[in-house]
Symmetry: D2
Subunit: 123 residues, 4 copies
Amino acid sequence: MDSLDRLNARLLQFARDRDWEQFHSPKNLAMALAGEVGELIEHFQWLTEEQSAGLSPDKKVLVGEELADCLIYLIRISERLGIDLLAAAERKIASNERRYPVERVRGDARRAEEYDPPAQADH
Amino acid sequence: MDSLDRLNARLLQFARDRDWEQFHSPKNLAMALAGEVGELIEHFQWLTEEQSAGLSPDKKVLVGEELADCLIYLIRISERLGIDLLAAAERKIASNERRYPVERVRGDARRAEEYDPPAQADH
Amino acid sequence: MDSLDRLNARLLQFARDRDWEQFHSPKNLAMALAGEVGELIEHFQWLTEEQSAGLSPDKKVLVGEELADCLIYLIRISERLGIDLLAAAERKIASNERRYPVERVRGDARRAEEYDPPAQADH
Amino acid sequence: MDSLDRLNARLLQFARDRDWEQFHSPKNLAMALAGEVGELIEHFQWLTEEQSAGLSPDKKVLVGEELADCLIYLIRISERLGIDLLAAAERKIASNERRYPVERVRGDARRAEEYDPPAQADH
């Protein structure tokens, strides 16, 4: 069984056992995800980019916990909406591969709509 | 090969092919994740909880794309920090199972520190 | 002296006294703002809309502190970029008054681009 | 009349004229604020700190609009909760001046709880 499916099944059981599905509307779960991302970003806000890439082992554990929380809420939202998160990610990567052809964007981090004329912006 | 590992390998190749690793500091990727979560939350902000659980098929596609973007950045941050995202999620779920015993929290959505005396808060 | 100007002067002095301007790039301050908004949203994520409008006095103090932090970082970002926050807000409100004419949007919370044909979306 | 009071009165009228107060629960407004902060952060995510301090005039206008949106929602949340945003900001600044004495934190951006023993953390 795939890892995301396994996590999903375990999280669903966790919520049902606690009668917490009543709180797990997509709206609320999106808020919970935003809260976790806020906690994640607080670890990085006063660091330089270099420092952010060289966290101490202790910090790395804390950051890993925030990343885990984010993944947990992503999986829960997807489950509540009946969205196949893995398939959505694969579609999105394929789309990005088309939107950002290697020869065009190499070494340049602008978003697709900044390359394209506005009328074709799809972001 | 597991789904998250496969996505990770594909995303790493995507970044390398475009020479985008230079932009992908954990700091920047955490910001990009926050931006995507902002886009996600905009879909839900004026909806009731009930409406958020009953999106139209069109809206569901759009929301799926935002969820995909979030997963993509989560995987990228984890890769850059050398964090095993799947293992971190499994540890976090096990920790939540201990922090929120079924018999204690059933039907009650407070956070652990609101159950515990403040001195024992671990959140 | 206007309240926002007064807060701005005080916050600027605060940063200079501590030699913290070196950390206060717009990029970092935007992250700090996102972190505070994450803390704000955590207060509301499991509440119904009705509950969110009826906070206890204790909760209201905590929420007020998060709102204060958000305002502080908004003012700091504006100062660092040389943006007149008050003037920007007044322009934005005037623009919203034009984009959302009373007779057209009364009681309907869709965003402007959902009223307009996509080619004219300005959001 | 103070600027924040004036903005507040105008925004309240704007919402009432459109019968939008029904959508403006603190919960929903906190989400809307998070959405705007997400848009703000997207402007900075791939910039270096230096680049973020040297935006082009065009970019500065766009960033000013996001900052304005953030201020608008901050004011709206405060109004709905009966919180005096200005007083809350002044209290928070006074508190920060005590928590971060100049002689102790000069040039060092750690948060108060990283200076203090955990039992005294108030963040």
